[in-house]
Amino acid sequence: MRRDDDGGVSAVATGSGSGPGKRNDQAASSPAFHPLYLLLLIPFIALLWPPFYAMDQPELSGIPFFYWYQFLWLLLTAILTAIIYGLTRGGTES
């Protein structure tokens, strides 16, 4: 049932909700920031630090590393997001 589904999501999230920091006594702090969301920081680190990938080698069939590394992260980020969606969507009703 939809109602149980939503309750489930909130319960999980509030149970561990004090983890991500930045809390105060305001009633509106997040009920829906799942700790797994922190994994979404990985693509930021991988892509916003160009020294990791601003290089020519190794090439992939003529494409410099700089370019195929970023294409690879495009794919990895989409997969990561899909996995986190699957793990946090709560109930199976849809």
Binding site: A54, G62, Q70, W73
Partner: protein
């Protein structure tokens, strides 16, 4: 002029025009209501939302300008790829909450949310004006996408004759947006995006075959770029500009009113989260298209303006009928975002300026009428602007627009997770960011990266991001100060539970 090319182009253009008018009856709703006209009744599922947001965010101008930038400067222009990757984790975390609270309180614009959250009409007005200011030049820039295609097909001559197709295209767009609302661009986006995918897949397979493979293309680019002061691999001096442009642009993208309109038109928070995982398919297309810049170098394409290189490359590499198909994809690709942007801008004007400050609209039918009328004004304004002043000013203003819209991030995005910030502090933070960002952008002749001097270091940062940093610092310091001296806070209409509901009509208050 090539008649086959032009014929195919006109055929597809007419096809989507018909679709634009048919859309009025799609998932029929009462189009005299703003919720129906401006958000299509919030009924779009995963697939339609995917097409709608993809067609909305990856505009014709993007598809023309990114390869042009790569063609001109090389690796730095590739920042569009990390930008359109990291934007989706942000969407995943922020946008379902915005969807939920807007669904629950019947908010139609981001400024509606800010007004409800902070109880501050002033802050809502700031968000609304910023949204409109940032959107207008963006609409104007879509015309550039149509212009370059028309020019490449050989429709030239007197100024009036070469402007005529553009005027016709925009009038058609204005009329079906007026009648069908958000349904029109949503339906057209399905056709347009399919055409874009076909074009791009053909381009990245066939063009490298003709040019001797990717190895040869990158070698040609590496040889040619130093002469233009460009580079194939990012040098250390460009690390910070590259990363700050990617981050700043990603933070800004979903603050744009047209992006938020696309999110709010979906029927559940799950649709939004699924799309965060599915929309990167468009980023892949954008990344592949970016490489057309290098292919143009390898093919020896030249053009008086870099925005012409993509159409010229397609013209040189493909038979006339397929080039016509590709050009139609680009031109239609301008209409979808232009329609959604004008709808989003008129929603903002109607709800947060007209209704809030000039005339209280009690009748929802009147609200929709005003919005429809404003959508016409917005598009005609964009058309006149580009025809009278040329593209350069539109490009400058669009750059400023990205910087401006980023200054609404604290009010909207932070507001989705916390009510800690004081609304007056947010307003002054916004003001500081707007003034400082505009000042350094103008002082820097409208180039996006501006060196900031901090603690004896010189940091070449995207101007929008440094303005954003200032905005946040001001907002934090003044929040502490205002709470200390007891400046009154507004009333929060929203409750903690309003942000978590994922399904349509979920009984949030039940627990």
């Amino acid at each position: 002029m090539n008649w086959t090319e032009l014929g195919v182009f006109i055929f597809f253009f007419l096809l989507v025009t018909v679709l634009g008018f048919i859309a009025v009856g799609w998932r029929r709703g009462d189009l005299t209501q703003l919720n129906e006209w401006g958000l299509a009744g919030r009924r779009f599922g995963t697939i339609v939302t995917w097409f709608l947001l993809g067609g909305d965010l990856y505009t014709a101008y993007t598809f023309v300008a990114v390869p042009a930038l790569i063609f001109g400067v090389g690796a730095l222009g590739f920042f569009a790829v990390p930008y359109t990757i990291i934007v989706y984790p942000l969407v995943f975390v922020l946008m379902p909450r915005l969807w939920a609270v807007c669904r629950r309180h019947h908010y139609i614009t981001p400024a509606d949310f800010v007004n409800g959250r902070y109880g501050s009409k002033g802050l809502a007005l700031a968000v609304a004006i910023t949204g409109i200011l940032a959107t207008m030049p963006y609409i104007a820039l879509q015309l550039v996408g149509i212009q370059v295609v028309i020019a490449t097909m050989g429709i030239t001559g007197s100024a009036a004759a070469s402007d005529l197709p553009l005027i016709i295209a925009f009038l058609i767009l204005a009329v079906y947006t007026y009648t069908s609302g958000l349904r029109a661009p949503a339906m057209i986006a399905v056709v347009k995006d399919t055409m874009i995918y076909i074009t791009v897949i053909a381009a990245v397979i066939i063009i490298p075959l003709k040019l001797g493979g990717y190895g040869h293309i990158f070698a040609a680019a590496a040889a040619a770029l130093p002469a233009k002061k460009g580079f194939l691999i990012l040098p250390p001096g460009a690390y910070l500009p590259y990363a700050s442009l990617a981050l700043g642009s990603a933070l800004a993208l979903f603050m744009y009113p047209h992006a938020i309109t696309g999110v709010l038109a979906s029927y559940s928070g799950r649709v939004v989260r699924r799309n965060a995982a599915l929309l990167p398919a468009y980023s892949l297309v954008l990344g592949l298209l970016a490489l057309l810049g290098y292919m143009a170098i390898a093919a020896g394409i030249t053009a008086p303006s870099p925005t012409l290189i993509v159409p010229r490359l397609l013209n040189a590499m493909f038979p006339a009928w397929f080039a016509g198909f590709a050009f139609a994809a680009i031109a239609i690709g301008a209409l979808v975002p232009a329609a959604i942007m004008s709808i989003a801008a008129s929603n903002l004007f109607t709800r947060n300026i007209y209704h809030a400050y000039f005339k209280a609209v009690s009748d929802p039918g009147e609200e929709a009428s005003v919005a429809k009328f404003v959508s016409l004004v917005v598009k005609v304004g964009a058309l006149v602007f580009v025809l009278a002043l040329g593209n350069t000013y539109a490009i400058y203003l669009q750059l400023l627009g990205g910087l401006w819209i980023l200054q609404t991030f604290p009010s909207i995005a932070f507001g989705l997770y916390t009510r800690w910030f004081h609304h007056v502090a947010l307003l002054l933070g916004w003001l500081a960011g707007m003034v400082w960002g505009t000042y350094i952008a103008v002082k820097n002749n409208f180039t996006p990266v501006y060196p900031i001097h901090v603690f004896g270091h010189t940091l070449p940062l995207y101007a929008g991001l440094s303005a954003f940093a200032l905005n946040i610092v001001v907002s934090i310091v003044l929040t502490v100060l205002f709470d200390l001296i007891g400046v009154a806070r507004g009333t929060d209409q929203t409750a903690r539970d309003d942000y978590g509901a994922e399904d349509q009509g979920a009984p949030v208050a039940a627990g």
